[in-house]
Symmetry: C2
């Protein structure tokens, strides 16, 4: 027989296992204690019954743990497991046509129809005896006893034995291996600390932290900002690069091509005589000062995130010590960064394809390991999309195998597909297009894509209304209301969000020139002084919103984000809930920073756990206003000059059996 098929008895078809990214090429992401819900299509020819199981284990464990998948509708099966420790987990599924399950199911129907079952009991006994030959001794004994009972003349006893669910469970433990179909791949889960999912970031430049005007701030000065940052409710503080800054081709204020002698330069021009990626800029302090800073932050429950920018100023020690790590031009000069016709001569990119690439890649990995040694466990990685993907595919698992708690934030403001690809390769969180999603349809479309499609399994958005590079036109021209709107959106659309802090609190909004998103007098090129005590600072509002996020677990996840209808194109309405619906948050934001807008909601009451005939309270946790609503259609009006957003906690009134009501 030509082309005789292997596995002619493997009759279960397994299809469309979810979650599975790109045919199992990449792991999904979870945080500690979350669950993985697995679904798969399983079916066979004809009408026989299946058994399907889910297998899972922590990587390195010898034995699979297993549980039965349960059938939903339409040949879909489902099961789930909890990831109870950091690191990498694996899962897969198996299924087989189960003759004893089929027999038991059919016997019940035959019994109900009052048919003669003499032959059927004999068939059942044969099935159990066959199963016993594959079973362990203890199980085999029980299976043979049951088979004997099915062969006995006592009819009533036979039907009791035959329909016993425990007997089915026992028999299902010993399928005929020739009939078992395994999903062809084992799939991975990367389990991160909870902060990977839920975090509030605050970025500032330590060199601007001195109290006295004119002095270069130090890490010790920066440390004195921490209590205020803690009061505002942030749990990650992110410092731009803290390394020595090159002087060759140093940039001056407002990105000028030449710098004056007093100009401090851009922290992203990394490396000088004093050292490179593992050194601290002498004017900021020492590595020991950084350790002190990290420890002080940790005391307040704050993680310190360092900026890892893999590029060198011409003065970086590696340029002298490892010239082979850079690309040479035919005139023997080193290739500077460029995006033709633009040139960036203050920066040398690495040549990741250099003949000496293994040493280069290891040196770059060791940069992360060095700072992890100093207590850092969070990294914001600059422009990862301009380094080869194979490099990140190697580096991130290298680091996480040793330190599974490490968090990598990808700063890849690039096209959608490379941005997603970096997340697939292992970046824990990602910058994204939030800054430029300002009108209703694009907010709804983008956050539905991020949270309700397979993207949710690998891409964790971190929402930044501004960064030192991004002062959006919306913020430039929308006044204080624009900042409040973007804050409310970032903090409630995203379980993780961040602010480029002092500039945001004080709604710095002057651009260097029209049509650019660069700040005027950007802190990237000069030391700034910030009047953080200004009475109109947004700090108190930020503190309030961060407290609402901490107190309401619905806001700590993106998985349950749902948009609701509202009949005004300037108003956006969305909810987040806990899976058990015991914390339900409803947000309504006026996206127009200039004008008052009103509208009628059409809420998806099921998503909110509400019945159509029950009244419920919406409690604005920012303004403390409370409204009694009922059904899906309710009126709202938002004046951006007062408060452009409702952040409602929805309190359902539950009708109990005893017929009294209370608020959850």
């Amino acid at each position: 027989m030509r082309n005789q098929p292997a596995g002619g008895r493997q009759r279960v078809i397994l299809e469309d296992l979810q979650p599975e990214i790109d045919g199992g090429k990449f792991p999904i992401k979870r945080v500690l204690g979350e669950s993985v819900t697995v679904e798969v299509d399983a079916f066979t020819d004809g009408h026989e019954a299946l058994t399907c199981i889910l297998l899972f284990r922590l990587e390195g464990e010898e034995e699979w743990r297993s549980l039965a998948l349960l059938p939903l509708a339409n040949d879909r099966w489902q099961g789930g497991f909890e990831v109870a420790s950091l690191g990498r987990w694996r899962y897969t599924v198996r299924g087989w046509v189960d003759p004893f399950r089929t027999w038991q199911r059919d016997l019940a129907k035959r019994l109900a129809a009052g048919q003669d079952l003499a032959v059927d009991y004999l068939i059942g006994a044969e099935l159990l005896e066959e199963t016993a030959r594959r079973a362990d001794p203890d199980a085999a004994r029980k299976l043979r006893e049951s088979a004997e009972a099915l062969r006995s003349p006592l009819t009533e006893e036979k039907s009791r034995v035959a329909l016993d669910p425990a007997l089915l469970d026992l028999a299902a433990r010993f399928p005929d291996p020739e009939t078992v179909v395994s999903w062809p791949r084992e799939l991975g889960v990367v389990v991160d600390p909870e902060r990977a999912r839920f975090s509030a970031w605050y970025e500032f430049f330590p060199r601007s932290a001195a109290e006295e005007p004119g002095r270069h701030g130090t890490l010790a000065d920066a440390e004195r900002w921490l209590p205020d940052i803690h009061t505002m409710g942030f749990d990650v503080v992110y410092l731009p690069p803290i390394h020595p800054i090159g002087s060759t081709k140093r940039k001056g204020p407002n990105n000028a091509l030449t710098a004056g002698p007093e100009d401090p330069g851009s922290p992203w021009a990394i490396g000088a005589a004093e050292g490179g990626h593992t050194a601290v800029h002498p004017e900021l302090g020492t590595v020991e000062d950084l350790r002190t800073f990290v420890a002080a932050a940790r005391e307040l429950g704050i993680d310190t995130a360092l900026d890892i920018a893999f590029q060198c100023s011409p003065d970086h020690p590696w340029v002298r010590d490892h010239p082979q790590w850079f690309r040479k031009r035919p005139d023997n000069t080193i290739q500077y960064a460029e995006n033709p016709p633009k040139k960036y001569e203050d920066i040398y990119p690495f040549d990741f394809e250099s003949e000496d690439w293994p040493a280069l890649w290891e040196a770059l990995r060791d940069v992360f390991l060095f700072w992890i040694e100093q207590g850092v466990r969070v990294f914001r990685v600059d422009n990862p999309h301009t380094k080869p993907f194979p490099f990140w595919a190697w580096l991130i698992p290298e680091v996480k195998a040793r330190h599974p708690e490490t968090i990598f934030l990808s700063e890849a403001f690039t096209r959608p597909k490379p941005m997603y690809y970096l997340a697939k390769l292992g970046f824990t969180q990602s910058y994204n297009y939030f800054p430029w999603r300002n009108v209703k349809w694009e907010i709804e479309q983008y956050f539905t894509e991020l949270t309700q499609t397979p993207v949710r399994e690998f891409f964790r958005p971190n929402l930044w209304p501004n960064t030192p590079d991004i002062l959006t036109e919306y913020l430039q021209h929308g006044g204080r209301p624009a900042f409040v709107i973007r804050l409310a959106l970032a903090a409630t659309l995203g379980a993780s969000y961040g602010l480029y802090g002092p500039a945001f609190e004080l709604y710095e909004h002057a651009a260097r020139k029209a049509g650019t998103e660069e700040y005027l007098d950007s802190e990237k090129y000069e030391i700034r002084r910030w009047d953080r005590d200004r009475p109109d600072s947004l700090a108190p509002l930020i503190a309030r919103i961060n407290r609402i996020r901490r107190e309401n677990p619905a806001l700590q996840t993106n998985a349950t984000l749902r948009f609701h209808g509202i009949d005004n194109g300037e108003l956006v309405c969305y909810s987040k809930t806990t899976p058990a619906l015991d914390n339900v948050m409803l947000m309504i934001v006026n996206l127009n920073p200039h004008h008052r807008h009103a509208g009628w909601t059409s809420l998806d009451l099921d998503a909110l756990g509400l019945a159509a005939d029950q009244a419920y309270e919406v409690h604005d946790l920012v303004s403390d206003a409370r409204y009694l609503w009922q059904g899906g259609r309710n009126f709202v009006e938002l004046n951006p000059h007062v408060l452009p957003a409702h952040i409602f906690r929805v309190r359902r009134r539950i009708r109990h059996e005893q017929d009294f009501e209370y608020y959850t």
Copy 2:
């Protein structure tokens, strides 16, 4: 260096290649002369330029043919090839970072910016010299000449050489193999004859074809029906099983459990003393008569489809000669078919897992090969979902490797996933849920799924308003208009459709009892006489509609099906076009067989190739009425008692440069 990555220089990422079914596990389907349009995401880190190519070949060819993929937007690339012969084709894609393409693109920008290019020309020369080392001698010579020109002092000559597109094409033929990324799989295309896509089927029982009342019809009688079937415009005539019929437990009229001595039995109870699956029922004639019938049909351009039902009556010779092919019960009887508690004791299913399964499977394959020998090339396979999937996965390629023109129609009225899976395994066409899609939303939803999702790549629906087993409630209660509506839908929604003929033409609509879809006095269990000359027969309308299908290529494909808005829930509106939009068909059907309905369309003018400001003619090819329309909003009214459907040909008026107008 632990875990050193392989392919650190393979920097192109290839993702989401389409079409690809289940990670390449199954081939897509095409018919002769169609094209395969391939798309893939391709991108790299940074800003370098890529070259991506599509490779394709007929299976068995040594060398790939190749062509360049072209970038669309958003990192998506596209290319296509025509499948010019029957059988199996293969395709895949490759991509690499292309240094010379990058250099040429950047040089153009630098030239435009007026930069000093001395070093850049040297870099280009080096790239060409490196490429020359991989090239064939002739190409190498040309590449070196160009390199020399770039090193020459003649500036003008240099830029001409540098920007030459032919030089780029030449260099792109010799990429550095270390940098080439291949899609990890080769993907398959099964190329079928055109009839696999576009066909009109007519089913009838030869035993009812005798002219004299009371006589058992023969294949020779059936042959005399062929001219009428041809006149009606059908190109496949499908005969229920023509084999000897068992007498043990034979069913009587209306599926009675016992048959009288004159009752002919069900043709699906296959096998008697006279033979089994390769014999012809003596009352129908001989194998030679079948050959004559097939040849006569072919003369008229009609294919003969046989019904292959893999099951045996207890009298089938195989029951005696190969008892091991059937399942034994403990009381030594043979297991009959059943769906507990229902029993079908006139039928024995095969035991596909029998110890002797290779011989069984080969015997079943030989059934197909036997009838192919007799000239048959189309098979309607009965209940394939009750036979193991591995069997079909083996059988269909076995047959098509020898006879690639064979068409298999799957009769799997089962759940959606097994139904689709059989199509993935190789069934050429499939019965589907069309009979039960009667209201607007379910028609729109289902046919969008079939034609606008990946399902279209492997599942070719064949639309049957009725079959001998399916007399829908819609047809039972909707009168003659219901038959016209279902005919119009089947013939225009589906490039392939079929009728259980005489019963349809004469709108037979009496059910055996309320709540069933079985015909009263079903032809499955008795010989019927049909008055095909009845003046109210639908035959002339069927002939007209089949002629419209033949004359309008838009109706010969499902790929371009689009639904349009119409503001009446009883009216459905959809179009089909040729890819070039030179044949545009627009259908509007009143789904309510009782009442007149009217509404206003909202047409997607782009899909119809129409401009908003141009008038166009819609010409009803059934009634010959013509209307002048403009824009998307037009009024229609359909009276089901006159004609419930418009089948419009849309004739655009094209404004030429010369400013005259004509109809296409």
